[in-house]
């Protein structure tokens, strides 16, 4: 099975994140950029399917030159190769334009199965898999906590608020996964060394036949007009339990009218 995994490089969600004051896009230059955590689960799932059914795993990333670091990290887990879509004109692309570029790149890869993380930790928008399915005219099985492959038939347990839905489709399809689906492997030393030699194909907008004015800040379908840091919460009262902590807690809740 020919599997493509979508990997996004994002600013580390464990550190302070901000927007760049010049154009209100996510500040990436000064951030500690890492592989989007949920994408590691997507890579793991792809590798498991390859191990069970054979095939090839390709990592697809759209991002600035610096995203190479995350691509190598992804490859060190085990995928065979990568495609890096990079172009200065892509800076500031909205989700709609991003989906257009990724869809064009996917057309060149002829994937049976496209696997993505359910969301990225920077935007948390969750729309990409369905946008791609819409553009490519293929099935989307999103929010998976379990994926079963039986020939060309895919079955997913889609996580819902109340439990799950069993959804099915035939390949080609896009599947997005939550972190409940597996436990991503750590790259081995051998994997890290091998990743350095794996092919990474660079694609520009021209290669994909997408014009620069359709993407980036110029072609964005939405715009951030204002960004302000939210005032941090300040600590309130802190008491140490000396036998009546529970009672005191309820007294507080009562003054706030919760009890």
């Amino acid at each position: 099975m020919n599997i493509v995994v979508l990997v996004k490089q994002v600013p580390d969600s464990g550190a302070e994140r901000t927007l760049s004051p010049s154009d209100n896009t996510v500040e990436r230059a000064s951030a500690n950029n890492v592989i989007n955590e949920m994408d590691e689960y997507a890579i793991e799932e792809a590798l498991k399917i390859k191990e069970a059914h054979g095939g090839e795993v390709t990592v697809l990333t759209m991002g600035p030159a610096g995203a190479t670091e995350s691509i190598r990290k992804a490859l060190s887990m085990g995928p065979d190769k990568a495609v890096h879509v990079s172009d200065d004109a892509l800076h500031g692309s909205c989700a709609v334009a991003t989906s257009k570029v990724l869809a064009e790149a996917l057309k060149t890869l002829n994937a049976d199965l496209i696997i993505a993380g359910a969301e990225s930790t920077d935007g948390r928008v969750q729309v990409m898999p369905h946008m791609l399915a819409e553009r490519l005219g293929i099935a989307a099985l999103t929010g998976a906590r379990k994926l079963t492959v039986d020939g060309s038939q895919l079955t997913v347990e889609r996580q819902t608020d109340e439990g799950y839905e069993v959804v099915t489709a035939a390949t080609p399809a896009v599947v997005s996964v939550w972190d409940t689906i597996n436990e991503p492997r750590y790259p081995s030393f051998k994997g890290i060394m091998a990743a350095k030699k794996k092919p990474v194909q660079a694609l520009s907008l021209a290669d994909l036949g997408v014009s620069a004015d359709e993407v980036g800040t110029a072609g964005a379908t939405s715009q951030v007009v204002e960004f302000s840091p939210r005032p941090p919460r300040s600590a309130g009262t802190k008491v140490t339990d000396e036998g009546d902590g529970g009672t005191q807690l309820v007294a507080y809740l009562a003054t706030e009218k919760f009890v």
Partner: protein
């Protein structure tokens, strides 16, 4: 005044009433309902029109048919904006709709101004952004617990939609819907009060304490990632970066240290209360009221005290 669509996926939820309330500031409110329409309730909150789409294709297939129905209706009625709930499905419909209409979209808004500018809380609650759709009409998903629903009576006209779903929208079949956990507790993202447990709760059995306090307060139960990863509580109740974002009136954190991963999902709560045995736990930095102590002593005592006061 132009129409504003409020998409009602399945039943009228609290976020539906919030959307109706926000939509009234943008134009004439039309609800677009999939399945059974609670016309009376929608009218109570100001819907002057209710479009109803009932077709087995909508129930039997994932998301795509709903987006197709809304896209057709948008082309026909040219509304001023489309509001959807910021749930997994709401966002997915919005994404497809944006591609179908070659239109911008904004997700997780907590406020929408009359000109369509949306306010979003970003980066784990550490920033506020104001954004605008610059191509097409505003397609905006609204985060639950953003505004207080306010009734404003209207008598809606009901219009049954003719649904045409193409084969391309029927590629993903829903073969079964399984309810694993459904009790009398409110839904996590919509609850006014959330009581969450973390690693400090110790094991799955001890989560009864968290549930007991939640039930006494009439709240929902949540869990930190550490608690979920340890198997104490199911993932659909996880609050944080890789789980749900909640914004209740009261958030009670029991045995939760307050890692940034967790704060991401709860720090816009109005009031935060924490119980933790570690006085240095970062959760106390954002708690309005914190008790440093053993939750196995503090929580049962608090539960007794609430019972006494009832």
């Amino acid at each position: 005044m132009a129409e504003v669509f409020v998409v009602v996926e399945a039943g009228v939820k609290k976020v539906t009433l919030e959307m109706l309330t926000i939509a009234r500031g943008l134009g004439e409110v039309s609800a677009v309902v999939f399945g059974e329409a609670d016309t009376a309730k929608l009218g109570e909150y100001g819907a002057s029109k209710v479009y109803v789409a009932t077709d087995s294709a909508i129930q039997d297939h994932l998301v795509a048919p709903k987006a197709a129905v809304i896209a057709d209706l948008v082309r026909e009625k040219q509304p001023a904006a489309v509001l959807l709930a910021s749930t997994q499905e709401g966002k997915e419909i919005a994404g497809r709709l944006a591609v179908k209409l070659d239109n911008g979209l904004l997700t997780d808004a907590v406020e929408v101004a009359a000109d369509g500018t949306a306010t979003q809380v970003v980066f784990a609650g550490s920033g506020i952004v104001k954004s605008k759709v610059t191509r097409g009409l505003p397609i905006v998903t609204i985060r639950p617990n953003s505004v207080t629903p306010a009734p404003e009576a209207a008598t809606p006209a009901v219009e049954q939609l003719t649904v045409t779903v193409s084969d391309a929208d029927k590629l993903t079949k829903v073969v079964e819907r399984v309810v694993e956990q459904k009790g009398s507790r409110p839904e996590l993202t919509e609850a006014g009060i959330v009581v969450s447990g973390g690693r400090g709760v110790g094991n799955a059995d001890n989560f009864k304490l968290v549930e007991e306090l939640a039930d006494l307060l009439g709240g929902a139960v949540g869990a930190s990632r550490a608690a979920v990863d340890s198997g104490f509580y199911p993932h659909q109740f996880q609050v944080g970066q890789t789980g749900k974002t909640v914004s209740p009136q009261l958030y009670v954190a029991l045995g939760i240290s307050g890692a940034i991963q967790h704060r991401a999902g709860m720090q816009t709560s109005k009031t935060i209360v924490a119980v933790n045995k570690d006085a240095e736990a970062p959760i106390f930095e954002l708690a309005d009221y914190g008790v440093v102590g053993d939750l196995f002593k503090v929580v049962p005592q608090a539960a007794d005290e609430i019972r006494k006061r009832k």
